[in-house]
């Protein structure tokens, strides 16, 4: 059996990859995907620890997280569509009207 810490390590690595994706990519869609990646990394940590402790709470939390992620993805993509109509771009550098 693999120890829990291995799962935690994997979770950490995936999370960091997600962070790097948010930082590095210009395309908003891809930034969004990176955020989803981060969410999933955390889900993995929850499940692993829940298994270790022996309760189902971890899975319940993951259940809710998934739901919320779905809702957030829907709304977020709607936002992107709406802004795309005005600006014709999904490049983060060009969506900076809220600057000084």
């Amino acid at each position: 059996m693999t120890p829990v810490s291995y799962y935690m390590g994997l979770s950490a690595v995936l999370f960091a990859i997600g962070v790097a994706g948010v930082m590095l990519r210009r395309n908003i869609i891809v930034m969004f995907l990176s955020i989803e990646l981060m969410l999933n990394a955390v889900n993995l940590a929850f499940i692993a620890l829940g298994r270790r402790v022996g309760t189902m709470d971890g899975q319940v939390i993951v259940f809710f997280t998934m739901t919320v992620a779905a809702a957030e993805a829907a709304v977020g993509l709607a936002l992107i569509i709406a802004s795309f109509r005005n600006r014709e771009t999904v490049n983060a550098d060009e969506l900076t009207t809220l600057r000084w």
Binding site: E36, T67, E72, A78
Partner: protein
């Protein structure tokens, strides 16, 4: 789960994750993420969370990733022309920051005492019954609130994405699909 399976799945997840952030074509990114999510689902099942694992694949990959793909096709997003354009400083620092994050997490994990088993694993661990049992008892309020959240999300998404056209005195709801325009033509 046997360690060799874990290592394989872990490597697959990491490589796909890197693929998500490094691919130029956004469709490829989505597909890579879908692979990561399937990988996660298998890991969940391996950890005994069968229900959640299935849900992950059905909901996350089947619905959310497809939604992403639809949006990409709808907006006709092209690949980025060049992968590296300017902002080298920010990219470098971003990479460094991510690496630092990994290092800190490892430092924390390696030095904290391990979690202890407080409950023995029940026989139906990960079954849908036990999940439902918790949902409708301890987490009932969160469950109900989540349903409201979904309602809000639906309404929000429609309100944001509709196209508003002002004809004389009347606002007509139009979706942005091309079906209605062909209907109009016909």
């Amino acid at each position: 789960m046997p360690i060799w399976l874990f290592v394989f799945l872990a490597a697959l997840a990491v490589i796909s994750g890197l693929g998500v952030i490094l691919q130029r074509n956004p469709v490829h990114c989505v597909l890579a993420l879908a692979l990561v999510l399937i990988d996660m689902g298998v890991l969940f099942m391996g950890l005994g969370a069968v229900t959640v694992g299935f849900l992950q694949i059905i909901v996350y990959v089947g619905a959310i990733m497809v939604l992403f793909l639809f949006v990409i096709w709808l907006l006709n997003i092209q690949s980025e022309e060049s992968a590296r354009e300017g902002h080298l400083g920010l990219k470098f620092i971003g990479a460094v920051g991510a690496a630092a994050l990994i290092a800190e997490f490892f430092a924390i994990f390696l030095n904290t005492p391990a979690a202890v088993r407080t409950h023995p694993l029940p026989a139906d661990y990960g079954s849908i019954e036990s999940l439902a049992h918790l949902l409708f008892s301890s987490y009932l309020i969160a469950f109900e609130a989540t349903s409201i959240l979904l309602l809000a999300a639906i309404v929000g998404a429609i309100a944001l994405a509709r196209r508003v056209q002002r004809t004389a005195g009347k606002i007509v709801n139009r979706t942005s699909s091309s079906i209605s325009s062909t209907e109009k033509a016909a």
